[in-house]
Amino acid sequence: MIRLPLALFFSAVLFSSGVYGVLARRNAVMVLMSIELMLNAVNVNLIAFSQRLHDVTGQVFALFVIAVAAAEVGIGLAIVILIYRNRETINVDEVNLLKW
């Protein structure tokens, strides 16, 4: 039985590294992967509390998050491929079309 604070600490580290990856990495694939890290950090949290509180709802939510994450990665990777085809780069700094 893993203690709750340990699980939460691990989750926090995981989430923080995910945030760092999203904000700092240039490679779009790495950004997507970092998002996965953040999602999984959330999953860890959900499972930990589910254990602690003896409530299965958290685990159900975690399953939903995994499903959504899979879909997200699918679309995300498709977008990355299209960007690469059009611009020959997947550097997110250079893909700055979403502005005024």
Partner: protein
């Protein structure tokens, strides 16, 4: 109203349809206009049929009065304005019956005659359109029972006279004459219009019906001042239409039109309308201040003499006739000016004059047609080549001169008798003096035209039957109609045409003797002078008087220099100055004020309003400029904002 009730009691019979007589020529004018050129004979047939039908109907209407019928009146509403109602109506009494008969008969003759006279004319069909319309307008004036309908017919006549006088408008003189006629008569029409307003106002806008106005006047329900003003203003219209002094100047110039037109204007329509108007509205004149009738008499008397004198010196045969018409119309006016006593006599002279004057004009037209000149100095001796024209012309001339037993003698005798009976000796003397001059110039005209040797070019020949036929018909009428006023046969005319109550026919040996004497004097003196043709007119012996007459009393010059030129030069220069300096000044001033104002508004607009608007925009732009750096398009920066937001929210939710 009593009269109307009586009219309802006695069977009006055919009188109900009198208005159709006035409508027929209008219909025929339309038909000629639209189908004339496609019809065999190019159109006049419609007008002739319409007038023939109208003449037959007129005789039927007249018969009603011959057999002692009562007047008849009916109307339909034309339109209403508030409580004021305008009507289309007819009022048929003996005068109307006599007038429609006279107008249709003469106009019919003129139509037939015009077929010959106008043959080959460029605007042949158009001529008949206007001629028919002219007749229709006159008949409309004659049968109407109210002033507004009368005005409509009156003005249509004005425009028709303009069109016909200027029928040959290619020549500048002709179109000028047309304009002169139109403007001069229009000068009279303005008072006429105001006269109508005055009378309608005087009745309190109750009616425009002439008979009702007359009845109100006779009951004293209308203020005498307004009545007098109305009468004088109406008479202004008569002066213009009937070419009385001082608006007579258009009529001699109107000779520029084709001769049948002159006959039409001088006999059947137009000038007769002016006299008819006074007769129709006579109760207004009678019940107004006596000054109204005095003015009528004075204008008549003055015109009578001056026009007759002018006829003495004319060389143009049509101008002699024109001045004679003015003078004869003045006879009628003078008679009407006598009041009730002269009413029937004046109308009788209108009636007989129409026949012999139409005859004279048409015969003169026949002469002009033959010799291709209007000038009597280029005529002479036409008695032999043109016998029919000569004899008919002679009959007309003798009637004009007042030789018994022709119609002119009877009517003129009655006029003089009326003046005698009214003890208005100045008028009587004027009439007698006029008669001498009339006889003189008539004889001069006949002598110069038909006697002596031919002085013109070519070989004159008799006109075709289509022209001499109407001449014969009119000559016959000239002989016959006089007996309608022949006292020994009880003068039936006086039973048909009267004002309020019929007069008994009277004969005064003194008057008959006087009129025969003056006519004889005039004729004999003229015969003596003109028996042998002289290059120099014997009248030139009169010296300055002759030159005064030759220049038409300088009236045309006075009008030209006193009215036309000042209006054209001075007034237009003044108007020009006014418009250049004053009006333009006002306009420019207004423009400058507007510009200054708009400058202010502009400044306000630019600085305050635009400032506010631009300020808002600039602020928004500035803020946006700052904010836009946030929206860099860099996904990671967006994500950073997102996380920052989340952190802030987390802190807010947990701490507070």
């Amino acid at each position: 109203m009593v009269a109307a009730a009586e009219a309802a009691l006695s069977n009006p019979g055919f009188l109900r349809y009198t208005w159709v007589i006035a409508l027929l020529p209008l219909v025929s004018a339309t038909l000629i206009l639209f189908f004339g050129k496609r019809t065999p004979g190019k159109g006049p047939i419609y007008g002739i049929l319409a007038l023939a039908a109208g003449f037959v109907m007129s005789v039927a209407v007249l018969w009603h009065f011959v057999t002692g019928g009562a007047p008849y009146s009916s109307s339909v509403t034309w339109f209403e304005v508030g409580t004021f109602r305008l009507e289309l109506g007819q009022y048929v009494d003996g005068l109307t019956a006599v007038m429609v008969t006279m107008v249709t008969a003469i106009s019919l003759c003129i139509h037939v005659y015009s077929i010959g006279y106008m043959q080959g004319d460029k605007r042949y069909t158009w001529f008949f359109v206007v001629l028919s319309l002219f007749t229709g307008a006159m008949l409309n004036v004659v049968v109407t029972d109210n002033l507004f309908q009368l005005l409509v017919g009156w003005e249509i006549m004005g425009i028709c006279s303009y069109l016909l006088i200027g029928h040959w408008w290619e020549e500048h003189a002709n179109s000028s004459a047309a304009i002169k006629a139109f403007i001069t008569t229009k000068t009279g029409d303005i008072p006429f219009l105001f006269g109508i307003f005055t009378l309608v106002f005087a009745t309190g806008f109750a009616t425009t019906n002439i008979q009702q106005i007359g009845e109100m006047a006779s009951r004293g329900e209308v203020s005498t001042v307004l009545l007098t003003a109305g009468a004088l203003l109406l008479f202004g219209g008569s002066i213009g239409k009937s070419a009385q002094f001082p608006l007579h100047v258009w009529l001699p110039d109107a000779m520029a039109g084709p001769t049948p037109v002159s006959a039409q204007i001088h006999a059947a329509t137009m000038v007769a309308a002016g006299v008819y108007l006074v007769a129709r509205t006579f109760s207004v004149f009678v019940h107004a201040n006596p000054i109204a009738l005095h003015v009528v008499a004075a204008i008549g008397g003055v015109t009578l003499v001056i026009a007759a004198l002018l006829a003495l010196v004319q060389d143009d045969i049509k101008k002699v006739l024109a001045y004679s018409t003015i003078s004869q119309l003045a006879y009628m006016m003078a008679a009407l000016g006598l009041g009730e006593a002269g009413y029937a006599a004046g109308m009788f002279h209108l009636f007989t004059h129409a026949f012999f004057k139409a005859l004279l004009f048409l015969a003169a037209g026949s002469v002009i047609h033959a010799v291709h000149s209007n000038n009597m100095s280029e005529m002479g001796g036409l008695r032999k080549p043109m016998p029919r024209t000569f004899w008919t012309y002679l009959i007309g001339s003798l009637a004009l001169a007042g030789v018994p037993p022709l119609s002119g003698f009877f009517s003129k005798d009655e006029l003089i008798h009326a003046a005698y009976k009214a003890h208005d000796y100045p008028i009587m003397i004027t009439l007698l003096a006029g008669a001498v001059i009339t006889a003189f110039y008539t004889t001069r005209m006949v002598m110069l035209t038909f006697f002596g040797d031919y002085r013109g070019h070519g070989h004159p020949h008799e006109s075709p039957a289509v022209m001499t036929g109407p001449l014969a018909a009119l000559a016959g009428a000239t002989v016959v109609v006089g007996f309608l006023g022949f006292a020994p046969t009880k003068a039936p005319f006086l039973d048909w045409v009267f004002f309020e109550h019929p007069e008994a026919a009277e004969v005064s040996v003194l008057v008959v003797g006087l009129s025969i004497l003056v006519a004889g004097t005039g004729i004999l003196v003229a015969y003596a002078l003109y028996r042998r043709y002289r290059e120099r007119d014997p009248l030139t012996a009169l010296g300055p008087v002759y030159s005064l007459l030759e220049h038409k009393y300088y009236l045309d010059d006075i009008y030209w220099k006193g009215i036309v030129l000042p209006i054209r030069d001075k007034a237009s220069a003044f108007a020009n100055w006014t418009s250049q300096v004053i009006l333009d000044g006002v306009v420019n001033g207004a423009a400058r004020v507007a510009r200054a104002l708009s400058g202010l508004v502009n400044g306000f607009d630019r600085n305050v309003l635009d400032g506010a608007v631009n300020g808002v925009a600039q602020t928004a732009g500035f803020t946006g400029g700052l904010l836009r750096y946030i929206q860099s398009g860099n996904v990671q920066r967006y994500a950073a904002f997102l996380f920052t937001g989340v952190v802030i929210l987390a802190i807010v939710f947990t701490r507070f």
